[in-house]
Symmetry: C2
Subunit: 204 residues, 2 copies
Amino acid sequence: MEHDNCDPASRPSTRDRLITVTCELLEFQGYHATGLNEILATSESPKGSLYHHFPNGKEELTIAAISKVGTAVLERIRDSLSPENGPAHATVPAFIRDISMNVERSGYRTGGPITTVALEAAASSKALRTACAEIYREWQLAVERALIASGSNQSEAESVATSIIARIEGGIIMARCERSRRPLDAIADELEQDLACRAKEKQK
Amino acid sequence: MEHDNCDPASRPSTRDRLITVTCELLEFQGYHATGLNEILATSESPKGSLYHHFPNGKEELTIAAISKVGTAVLERIRDSLSPENGPAHATVPAFIRDISMNVERSGYRTGGPITTVALEAAASSKALRTACAEIYREWQLAVERALIASGSNQSEAESVATSIIARIEGGIIMARCERSRRPLDAIADELEQDLACRAKEKQK
DNA sequence: TAGTATATAGACTGGTCGGTCTACTATCAA
DNA sequence: TTGATAGTAGACCGACCAGTCTATATACTA
């Protein structure tokens, strides 16, 4: 029952390779377009190992993969929006511009690591759907905390945080379609004004 | 070369049935999860007719389908945000609450008719990707016009309109995952304050 | 009526899908 | 050395995939 990395000097364990490769392929192409054989070939693992580590097959492997990227993104959110980096009305737009840069750098092939899965699987798999919902919730709560630390009240922070996550998800979709940073950069600009306006309002 | 509806008293033409059914299935399950055989069975059309009307197969049929729903949504946007219904800072939140209601009413199975396709196909099909980008652009322009009619300047209208479309797309994804109106309603609330704040700012 | 384009009909193909199955190897404890 | 468990290996399965093909029916025109 050893699920962590193996000897750090050698290649990662089969289990870790499977998860890592699945993360990447899901982000590029989504759930149904990513075949188990492709995952197997890319990670150089035999099919027997996959069903040894993930007895419930594709669904279980996918949940492991999106949980991993979900947590990684959560940590990026916490780091970027940490109060020591400044007030939320500065850190949030900067965070979105950073995402914009990364999406561009990937040739508009990545971004929104769980979005495609969320939409594709929402219909067919309850387990996948709730896994995605939980990740979105964690992200939202992290943003919420940053807003509260910058002076928002609970109720405002909740709706604004939800709206920020939604803006990012939607902006990534538009940017990938358009193959342009424009949508994400426009959202960063708009959000900067929005948050500034709210902060100013509060001073009165 | 007759592409419109046939005799209104009888059932729609094969071509129209194919497009309509494809729209629905794509919205429920996405591109790769929707098989041609399923489309054929649901619309009660033989395969020969599909390749007669859409020689390029699934891709061409999908483009026809998303163009249709894209245009239908565009008209809904124009109607809802028409200046005679009031200022944008009232009509836009109302529009989002209306979407929220429809998503709930569908059992959280529909909403964001082109989002899934946009993400799934962005990687593999340039034609589909640009078709989605064009639809997003049309939606954005319609919102932009409504904002300008309510007193925004061009530059602000563009970024705010982009951000509104993104919020809606992202909010629908979150609502479908969570099976709750909460995300979309929170976005409507947040947007209401955001637009009100901007309007107040402008008075000064 | 004959001829032509349009449209319907579905059998069929090669390929891929997710998943099962058996066999083999490595590790470690008794 | 033996036995049990964890892990690797890949052949194999039925189901389904998008797309091709030939045959036929229908509608309109010459």
